[in-house]
Amino acid sequence: MKILALDTSGKMCSIAVAEDGKILDQISTISEKEHSQTLMPNIQKLLKSLNLQLDDIDLLSCSRGPGSFTGIRVGMATVKALSDAKNIPIAGVDTLKAIAYSVIIKKGRKECKILSLIDARNENVYFAVYRIHNGNISLYKNAEIRNVSDIVEYINFEDPLYIAGDIYMEKLEPLFKAKFSKQYAQGRKTDEYEYVTDLPPLAEAIAMCAQDKYDVGDYR
């Protein structure tokens, strides 16, 4: 089955088509233009390059937040319109989960925890923790919005921890480094953590999450 997934929750506008759990192709752009201007042309371009029509798509998916308010609305309105016009079901995906899934796409499914981060302005961050166990992803800690200085409190896990989200380098890195250098100086075992860069465009992860949802009947 084919999934058309899009993400407009951040600065990048990304679109991906997946078939039977594998990404066929994707387009992602960052431009001065608004998502409302670039999204439809890019969807058309991607489908055309794959020799596909909208009628070939079995499931539509987009990010449903958190993230840019207008960005998410553009994505959702587009997906709803396409769904209505072509009678295609929709599955919405949590942006924080998509970020965590992007880490799986890049790093594989070994036992670990993933801290997903999204900027929420004014020194605040949206975050959630996901766990990879026996190859499956599950929510470990519910999404919350907190001040950057509070986030470091949540890092005391035994499993290796991956951190994902651009806002990490901008606001959190020095705080994490400070916390762990203290632990190291005290002779305690420092938790392992790695900030993951160069993640694939979010639409790919959204397509994968949508596939999981479809498999359990979680779509409308």
Partner: protein, 148 residues
């Protein structure tokens, strides 16, 4: 907090132009003052600095008026007609903060969600008809060193 006395409309505009020379994308200004105090003239002065010579109209009904030239984007808001901060959020208001220079009349409505750094300008009527007192307050570390 800084105070300046302006003896005329022209002086207010000149001050606004000088003020604008220190502004860039991401700067947020809350502009307060009674009817007729000169808020619109002040904004005109800011626009003039950036080469946007326009007689502007009040954004009371439009909520926001936009002015673009070269790489400068100015968003002039009047939040009087909005009910509460949620209405501002619902129209995607927060997304404007990083898009250009934002000037808010009735900005107190959204005080809770304003960026940590912003500038507050109050225009008060002075001792004579033409005289005005301009009060400039800055909030946040970004503007600590600046003087206007």
């Amino acid at each position: 907090m800084q105070e300046r006395i302006s003896k005329s409309e022209l002086e207010t505009k000149e001050f606004a132009k000088n003020f604008a020379s220190k502004l860039g994308r991401g700067d947020v200004i809350v502009l307060s003052g009674d009817l007729g105090a000169g808020k619109t003239k002040f904004v005109e002065g800011i626009l003039e600095y950036f080469g946007m010579q326009e007689e502007i109209s009040s954004p009371t009904f439009t909520i926001v008026n936009e002015y673009h030239k070269d790489k400068i984007d100015i968003y002039h808001f009047d939040l009087y007609r909005l009910k509460d901060v949620y209405e501002f959020e619902n129209i995607g208001g927060e997304e404007y903060f990083n898009k250009g220079i934002c000037i808010f009349e009735w900005g107190e409505l959204i005080e809770d969600i304003l960026p940590n750094d912003y500038i507050k300008i109050t225009i008060e009527k002075g001792n004579t008809d033409d005289e005005r007192k301009l009060i400039i307050e800055t909030l946040g570390a970004k503007y600590e060193e600046l003087s206007f």
